[in-house]
Structures are given as structure tokens and as C-alpha cells.
Amino acid sequence: MLLARLFDEKFASLYRAGKIMGGVFLGRGQEALSVSIGVHLRTGDVFAPLIRDLAGRLAFHEPVLDAARTYLGSVQGPMRGRDGNVHRGRPKSGQLAMISHLGAMISVVNGILFARRMRGVDGTVGVASYGEGATSTGSFHEALNQAAVEQLPLVVVVANNQFAYSTPTVRQFACDSLLARATGYGVAGAAVDGTDLGACLQVVGRAIAQARAGRGPQLVVASLLRLCGHGEHDDAQYISPALKASPAGRDCVKVAEQYVLQQEWAGADTIAHWRAEAAQTIEAAVVTAQRESAPDPFAPHYWSALASQHRWERREEGS
């Protein structure tokens, strides 16, 4: 999560310097929750990350270069310049490449889990990560209900960071806790303090283990705050100082460092060393990506959207 935090900071500064193609969306404040997903996933599992899931992506073995290349427009990124930033992914490695439409990835994860079952592959878990705003989408509802009907090993992690862009939860839903939805779908539910790494590791880990053990879909609802704007273009003035000062506003990275020190898992110098190492990794990735070339619009492969193009080639398609 330290790597993710520093990487995000790097992206933010590159964004300010005008070096980024498109927008930048940070996970600041949400790394503890996110990393808890990634560390509990295994090869063969499936992860549909949220825009704020750099930590979870990296923990689930996304190559460090993927993010750098995508943000910086290198043709060698996993999306080859076709799609950008948070939409990157490697479906073959279980890292789904999200579409922007919120809620839409959950049923796709369902489909993969369904396919695994049909093919007799056991033990796969799929995690889809969304913000509390996405719970208002029809897609979210249909997919969670579908997973419940099919009893799929799906874990949906909802990061309730109190805002969907600028919209506070009071304009998003009227229930006391989103956890109540779990009962409505007939799935297991668990709440967690998203600023507390230890708690996140435990609760998310348990949900993933339960799903893996065949206990059906799991809903995890974390409360926290994003310690940044919706995107780097947004100064998030709508988040009140009181909320920032509340427990939800704790910086999960600081809390985690504190915890590591307290538990004497590592000393301050070790943490400083981690930090330096992470910074170096990031710097190297950024330098590499910046040196790589941009996509070449004259390469014809960019301009065909069909996998079965060869089938149609006998007859030329007009414009």
C-alpha cells in the first residue's frame, strides 16, 4: 500500500505537470482496503478493480509498469493506447479491464465464475470493488442478485467513502447501513473500518475465504474517506473539515505504519527503507514508460474492432 500511495503521488505530480494523458484518479485513503483484496487473491482468481484500487492491483500482481505505461501513453502498456488509466487490465491474468459504467463489472465476474464452475474448475474467487455510489445502479443490483441465485464465489467490496463524486450518501441511499442489503439478497455481509489495515485484512480475507469455501456471495462494506478529489481535477471542497477530522478521515497509511511500529513488525528505519525502495521502483517505471513510443495511428490493427476480421476479409467493408 505504501507503493500505491507513492505511485499515486507520483501520478498526481505528473498530472500537475501536464505529463498525463487524460484524467488521474487516486486511491488515497483507500489503500488499506484495496490491498486487503489483492493479498488474498491467488493466481486464477478474478479481480474487477475500482478506479481507486492501485494498491489492490499491485498486490494482485499487476506489473508496476502497467500503470505507468497506461498513464503516460506508452504503446507497450496493456491497453496499447486504446484505453487509458483506470480502465487498464489483463483479463487473461484475472485483472479485468473495467468499463466506466459503474456496477457493470460485477455480472462479468459472475460470468467468469459461472464458466469456471461449468468447466469444473474449483476454488476460484472473484472480487468486484465499487464505491457506495455504484450501489444505486441497476447493474449492481441485478448482478448481486444473480450471484446469490447462482451461489457464485463472488465478493463485492464496497468502499463507502461518503461521497460519489460530490454527492453525499444522504442523496445516494436512505438505509442505515448498506450492509442491510446483504440480507435482502440472501448473501453474507460484513462491515469494516476501512482506515484500519488489520481489520481490513481480516474482514476481506474472511469474506474471500468464505467464498472460496463455497459459502456463496459475500458483501463487504467499508467506511472510510477518500483523502483527495474525485479525480485530480477536483479539489473536493464539498468534504467538510469535520468529516476529515472524524475517524473515517484517518489516513490508513499512517494508521498502518503506526500499527506496524506498535506490533514491532518493523522499525522506523525499515519503513523508511521500504519507502525509498518504493520510490525507486516508481521512478524506474516512469522513466521506462516515458522513453517508450506512443501508438502509431497508421498501424492498421488499431482500426478493426472484430476478432474474426479474417472471416470478413474476402469482401471489403465499405466505410
Binding site: R82, I99, A104, G111, A115, Q146, R311
Partner: protein, 321 residues
């Protein structure tokens, strides 16, 4: 033996299930019940666990099919009526259609859409949807007009590595019969000369092929030889066959059952005139459904869509200009 368009669709699915373990069917009431139109009748019993009832969740149905396709299966997704696919629209045009282009991983799913009007079905059980799907990059849109094509093109749809929108026409389900299932077939992307002629080319697809053929027959009595091109696939669109026909006849009428703005008839006419302007001896013409929802009352319904009579009227106009 005689087999209907609907039975051909069922038979194609049975064969796909039998021959390819990656194939499964997902849709509302497709299991034990055999589907609202019985297009999957008996298949759940014959292929246990591979013909699966879905909740009334079109968005999630499409999403599940996409995920399964991504993972290497070959889902056939049935919408109960094409009209309800508007609720899966986002997953289809933004998720399924963009997946290969974005990630290089194919998304081989077949979406079966029971399309088109029948008397008394009204605005929400009669729509033609090919226009809106064909507009989006990354989709293949097939519109079989015959029993043989219903069968062979559905099999090909399942084999194609892209999301295929399979527009089957409900008006043809029971009416249309063939002696036997075909043993060979044109590739799905090639148009077919359904009737040869030298005076006028009528380009059409799906149920309108039969209205055009009937019109051609009527016009034969008046001394005209009308050629009818059945597009079969509206995306990709086989411009070559169309152009070759227009080169022979010099005249073009394009007929579709969809709403009049945009769509297949506009695309065909626009392509022919930009690529084969000099082939035309007279202005091309389009005949579409009217620009209102599809009416429920049979009187209105049959005035809303083109019929043999109105096709013949339009053809006479082109022939005389």
C-alpha cells in the same frame, strides 16, 4: 419431413450444444419450460446444466454471458423479446463490443433477439433492433430470412469469435417452412440473390425478403423482372453483391422493417451511391416502416410496416423513373 424457422433455431442450438462443450444457453424461461417461443424446447433435459434459467435481469444476463465468453465458453443468450435487450444495451455495446479491441481477448457470445412484428404484439414486442446494434463497432449483426439461414447462420454465429447479434424474426417462426435442414451454407457475411431479375434490384433482409419476393412475383405479371438481394448479414454488409446486382439492373429499392431514420436502408443506399453512382439509371429509393412506434391493432400494424403491396408500389415508382 418439414421444418419451421423456429425449429431450425432449436435444431441449431441442439447441434451446437452437442458438438461443442463450451456452448451453453442462458435466458429467461429457457430451461425446463423451453423458452417463451419454445426455441429451446427439450434442450435442458437433453443437456443437463447447460440450459440455464435467468432472473429478469437483462443487464446482468448479458454481463454473465460476456464473462463466460471471456473465460472461453460460447454462451447463447436468449432475450425473451428483442425489445427487452434495451436493458442490456450498455453491456452489449460498451462491454461486449469493445472488449476485443480494448484487451485483445475475444468475446464470442451469441445474442438471440426475437425481433419484428406480428399482428397484435404492439410497441414493445415488435421492434427491429438491428440498426442500433449495427451502429456500434465490434458487433456482428445477422438477420436470417430463411429456415436454412436460421439454422446455418446460428451455427456460424456460435463459431464466430465476436459478439453476434442474431436477429430472428418472429413473424417467420411458424409460417416459414423448409423440407430439410441445410447441409451446406453461404458464409454468414455474404448476401444472397434470392431471385434474379434485370430491371430493378430490391435489397432487403429478414422478413421483408418474403414481402419483396411476393412483390417481385406480382410485378412479373406486369412484365418486370425484379432481382431480390437478401443481405443476410447487415454488419458486415456485403456491398459487393449489392453493387454487382445494381450494376446489372441499374435501379435500386431498399426495403426494411425498421424505423425510417438511419438504419440498413440508409446505409445501403449511401454506400451504393458513393461507390457506384454511375451504375444507377434512376434515383434509388427506400421503403421503411413508419416513424411511429409499432401499432398494436392489426389494421394499423399492417399499414406501419412495408408489405408486398407497398413494396410493389415503391418498385413501380423506381421502375418508371
Amino acid at each position: 419431413m418439414s421444418i419451421t424457422y423456429l425449429e431450425a433455431i432449436r435444431a441449431a442450438q441442439a447441434r451446437a450444444l452437442a458438438e461443442d462443450p463450451r456452448v451453453f444457453i442462458y435466458g429467461q424461461d429457457v430451461g425446463a419450460f423451453g423458452g417463451a417461443f419454445k426455441a429451446t424446447k427439450g434442450l435442458a433435459q437433453e443437456f443437463p446444466g447447460r440450459v440455464v434459467d435467468a432472473p429478469i435481469s437483462e443487464d446482468a444476463m448479458a454481463g454473465l454471458a460476456i464473462g463466460a465468453a471471456l473465460d472461453g465458453l460460447r454462451p447463447i443468450l436468449e432475450m425473451q423479446f428483442a425489445d427487452f435487450s434495451t436493458l442490456a444495451f450498455n453491456q452489449i455495446v460498451n462491454q461486449a463490443a469493445t472488449l476485443f479491441w480494448r484487451t485483445n481477448v475475444p468475446c464470442p457470445l451469441t445474442l438471440r433477439l426475437p425481433c419484428g412484428g406480428t399482428a397484435g404484439s404492439g410497441p414493445f414486442h415488435s421492434q427491429m433492433l438491428e440498426t442500433i446494434y449495427a451502429h456500434y463497432p465490434g458487433l456482428v449483426v445477422l438477420t436470417p430470412a430463411t429456415v436454412e439461414d436460421a439454422y446455418s447462420m446460428l451455427l456460424e454465429a456460435v463459431a464466430i469469435d465476436d459478439p453476434v447479434i442474431f436477429c430472428e424474426h418472429k413473424f417467420l417462426y411458424y409460417h416459414l417452412k423448409a423440407e430439410a435442414l441445410p447441409t451446406e451454407a453461404l458464409p454468414a457475411n455474404e448476401a444472397r440473390i434470392a431471385r434474379t431479375g434485370r430491371d430493378l434490384t430490391i435489397v432487403t433482409y429478414s422478413a421483408m425478403v418474403h414481402e419483396a419476393l411476393a412483390a417481385a412475383e406480382e410485378l412479373r405479371g406486369e412484365g418486370w423482372e425484379v432481382e431480390v438481394v437478401d443481405l443476410r448479414s447487415v454488419k458486415p454488409l456485403d456491398t459487393d453483391t449489392v453493387m454487382a446486382s445494381v450494376a446489372r439492373t441499374g435501379r435500386l429499392l431498399c426495403v426494411g422493417e425498421a424505423f425510417p431514420w438511419g438504419g440498413v436502408t440508409a446505409e445501403v443506399v449511401a454506400r451504393v451511391v458513393s461507390e457506384g453512382f454511375d451504375l444507377l439509371d434512376a434515383p434509388p429509393m427506400r421503403l421503411n416502416a413508419k416513424d411511429t412506434p409499432v401499432p398494436y391493432h392489426p389494421n394499423l400494424w399492417s399499414a406501419h410496416r412495408p408489405t408486398a403491396r407497398t413494396v410493389a408500389m415503391a418498385a413501380r415508382k423506381v421502375l418508371h423513373s
